[in-house]
């Protein structure tokens, strides 16, 4: 459990890494030693804990609170080959006014699109406060040369993206070239400028929880603002146990460095019930500080309408049919 050692020697150097963490990223072998020295994750235990948290019963006022919070955390996403300016404009409108029939309904956190759609989204969203997030770095596979990935990122930033969702090179990670993955994240972070960087692991391809924990630390040390489970293109995408391991990682990282990193499960979260399970987990594992759109997001497309339906049900006591909610 090298985390202890790191805790003891951690300095509160603002921005940069503490000497101990900087040392861990000084060479491929040092990084490997550090990542493989992280406490292991017992699969059975992690899954049992996630399932246990999933049995919390969130009712009445707590449910109202959770639904509004979840809506504010949604990164409303369209990442399709068939995306057009029209589709993106419609999505952006929905992001600003998720429920046209109810002015008290909060807007979502961001709209998530491909780089070529950033300008369209930006134009529609204007100064609404809804961010534009763009995937980049040869999303979703990440199989391109570094300069192409950086150009992809810069394109999106120049078009006005507030947030960049990059993918890591899973091939490099799985073959143990951790420093290569680390340096790529550092380079993309630099290319982001003022935009916030979310790092996607594609946990469905990393497969083990030990890998998820290692990837989390690697990305956080490289300067990620957010760590994100999946592209949504690979199954399984976000799961509760994977998110549990990532929440433990950001919690531990703050203990060591004082810096907070956000978490974004993406893909497969479709119902209010699921979203609330995630919020309970955030609350009880990372803590209330993370219960904010600045620190926790849902990458989702269909989740929003279920949240809206449940919200209307809570407020009116009746379920409305799906035709009463916009399809965008």
């Amino acid at each position: 459990m090298p985390v202890t050692t790191v805790v003891n020697s951690a300095s509160s150097s603002a921005g940069g890494l503490s000497p101990a963490l900087a040392e861990a990223t000084s060479s491929d072998s040092a990084l490997r030693r550090f990542l493989h020295g992280l406490p292991g994750v017992d699969q059975v235990g992690a899954e049992a804990r996630a399932a246990g948290l999933g049995t919390r019963s969130i009712k009445t006022t707590a449910k109202e609170f959770a639904i509004d919070l979840a809506i504010r955390m949604v990164d409303l996403t369209t990442l399709e080959g068939q995306d057009t300016p029209g589709k993106v404009r419609a999505l952006a409108s929905k992001a600003m006014r998720p429920d046209p029939a109810d002015q008290t309904c909060p807007q979502v956190a961001a709209v998530c699109v491909y780089p070529d759609m950033v300008a369209v989204a930006k134009e529609t969203l204007g100064a609404s406060g809804v961010h534009v997030a763009s995937v980049a770095t040869a999303f979703p596979s990440g199989r391109a040369a570094l300069d192409i990935k950086l150009a992809d990122t810069q394109d999106a930033v120049e078009a006005g993206a507030d947030e960049i969702d990059m993918v890591i090179d899973r091939g490099a990670f799985l073959s143990g070239r951790y420093l290569e993955v680390f340096e790529e994240i550092v380079a993309v972070r630099e290319a982001c400028g003022d935009a916030h960087l979310k790092v996607i692991f594609e946990t469905g391809e990393l497969q083990t929880y030990d890998n998820v924990r290692r990837a989390s630390w690697l990305a956080m040390m490289a300067g990620a603002h957010f760590i994100k489970t999946s592209t949504g293109k690979i199954q399984p995408a976000a799961t509760l146990p994977v998110t549990l391991v990532m929440l433990e990682a950001v919690r531990d990282f703050r203990d060591v460095t004082g810096q907070m990193v956000g978490v974004k499960p993406a893909g497969g979260i479709r119902t209010t019930k699921d979203a609330i399970k995630y919020l309970v987990m955030v609350n009880e594992v990372a803590g209330g500080d993370w219960l904010d759109p600045d620190w926790f997001r849902f990458g989702a497309s269909t989740l929003l309408n279920d949240l809206l339906m449940q919200r209307t049900k809570m407020r009116t006591g009746r379920y409305s049919g799906p035709d009463y909610f916009t399809l965008d």
């Binding site: 406490p39 292991g40 059975v44 209330g288 500080d289 219960l291």
Partner: protein, 484 residues
């Protein structure tokens, strides 16, 4: 990092109480003898209360020696005339039927268990009652296969079993006792604990509902006197007891010199051993589950945490932070993690031993938590700086109180873990498979859990070494205690 950092956003869980409407508690209960509820001969009764509120739930009959005699006679009659003559296949039908009814009435049983015992509905609903059904299903499967259980070609039942069970898992202990006894062809007289008789009485109704032949199961409620009468009755062939070591000793004396067969499942002071290479977050969960599950009213609770000194500080920090998220309160609230202490008597014992721990110089810590004004409550508590010489490291507290000790090497961990008169269970947390096997070999405990704790399964035998008792319950081994 300070435990219980002030949360940025406060996510308050609204009360989520399970409805009590599903249970129908009568104002008074008779004894279940020969298939009928009957009034006790002495006419005496006692009250059972809801430990979370101190509300009186019902008047329950106190069985006298005379009543116990009637129950044993009924059991003997049912044994001789019906149950021992019935084919295994027929017996298994009854057991399957009981198991199915338990599943159908699971919610009712869970709510009643939580009301009478104080355990959180989360546990009675997700652990106790599903396991109760599982034990009946499992032993139902054995009833027609006893010839192949490895106890000879013609295994025979013993006769009438006198069974005395504790208050910590009222229904589960009932299942552990009754299911194998009936499967093997015995009939039973069972005495539930005086503070938790209600689910056993509901089980009596289930026996009626299942058309179980009269006298096969008899339930006599009462306290120590009644228990002694069951154990001492000369027509009882087999005694099965789960409870304190003190009472277990008395039972062993009482049956000495008779030809009664005995199984005793007694106290424990289990070591939960965390090595420096343990999966730390899961180990913390295991520590919490080990000692705070069922308010620590668990004979196999991991009440001694042995943690490798090199990681002790980190593990403790994480443990305290985790303890800060435990929700103590209304057992019927679906979000409650820790319910009520079962009785005023038990609460007094936990308080006494905790005060002794403090007086002996151990560091006491509990997360801030508001305890309800009525009922019996004790906050989750951890004692640090505990050594083998402390009483809280030696005596069974049977409450949500953890003693933390450290060790340096695997050999020292084994030495400390085994340095107790008990030997019921132990836990080992390490990523190294070979060490798990080595530890399991060295630990003198009936159950050794690796990278988990407090897991039960009907296929797995359970029982103790040394003062934790003798005999095994559960699995194929559990049949042996009811077969000749």
């Amino acid at each position: 990092m300070a435990p219980n950092e002030k949360a940025g956003t406060v996510f308050e869980y609204a009360p989520a109480p399970e409805s009590r409407a599903v249970v129908d508690i009568k104002s008074s209960y008779g004894l279940f003898i020969n298939g009928e509820f009957t009034d006790p001969a002495g006419g005496r009764s006692f009250k059972t209360v809801n430990p979370a509120t101190e509300e009186v739930l019902a008047e329950v009959s106190e069985a006298s020696t005379e009543d116990v005699d009637l129950a044993v006679k009924a059991a003997r009659r049912a044994y001789t005339r019906v149950w021992s003559r019935m084919s295994g296949r027929e017996r298994s039908k009854y057991l399957y039927r009981i198991a199915r009814i338990i599943q159908e009435r699971a919610r009712e049983l869970a709510v009643l268990e939580s009301i009478d015992n104080g355990k959180p509905i989360k546990e009675s609903r997700d652990v106790d009652i599903p396991l109760v059904a599982a034990y009946f299903f499992y032993y139902a499967g054995w009833a027609d296969k006893l010839e192949y259980a490895g106890f000879g070609p013609t295994p025979q039942p013993l006769g009438v079993a006198g069974q005395v069970i504790p208050w910590n898992f009222p229904m589960m202990m009932l299942a552990w006792k009754i299911a194998p006894a009936l499967a093997a062809g015995n009939t039973v007289v069972l005495k539930p604990a005086e503070t938790t008789p209600l689910t056993a009485l509901l089980f009596a109704e289930i026996c009626q509902q299942a058309d179980l032949p009269a006298g096969v199961v008899n339930i006599v409620t009462g306290a120590g006197e009644t228990g002694r009468a069951v154990v001492a009755h000369e027509d009882v062939d087999k005694v099965a007891f789960t409870g304190s070591t003190e009472v277990g000793r008395a039972i062993a004396k009482a049956v000495a010199g008779t030809d009664k067969k005995v199984t005793l499942e007694l106290g424990g002071k289990a070591a939960n051993i965390v090595f420096d290479d343990a999966p730390v977050d899961q180990a913390v969960e295991g520590i919490v589950n080990g000692i705070f599950f069922n308010q620590g009213h668990v004979c196999c609770a991991g009440s001694r945490l042995l943690v490798q000194e090199s990681v002790a500080e980190e593990v403790l920090e994480r443990l305290k932070r985790r303890m800060g998220t435990l929700r103590v309160g209304d057992p019927l609230d679906k979000n409650t993690d820790i319910g009520a202490i079962n009785s005023a008597e038990q609460l007094a014992r936990i308080r006494e031993l905790s005060d002794i721990g403090e007086a002996e110089g151990a560091g006491r810590w509990s997360p801030p938590c508001d305890l309800p004004a009525h009922g019996f409550w004790f906050p989750p508590t951890v004692f640090t700086g505990v050594s083998q010489a402390h009483r809280i490291a030696r005596e069974e507290i049977f409450g949500p109180v953890l003693s933390v000790l450290t060790f340096r090497t695997p050999a020292e961990a084994v030495e400390k873990a085994n340095n107790t008169p008990f030997g019921l269970s132990a836990g080992v947390w390490t990523d190294k498979g070979s060490r798990i096997l080595w530890m399991a070999d060295q630990l003198r405990a009936g159950v050794v859990w690796a990278n988990t704790f407090n897991r039960f399964d009907p296929t797995s035998p359970f029982g103790g070494y040394k003062e934790s008792g003798y005999g095994r319950e559960g699995g194929r081994h559990g049949l042996e205690a009811y077969i000749r």
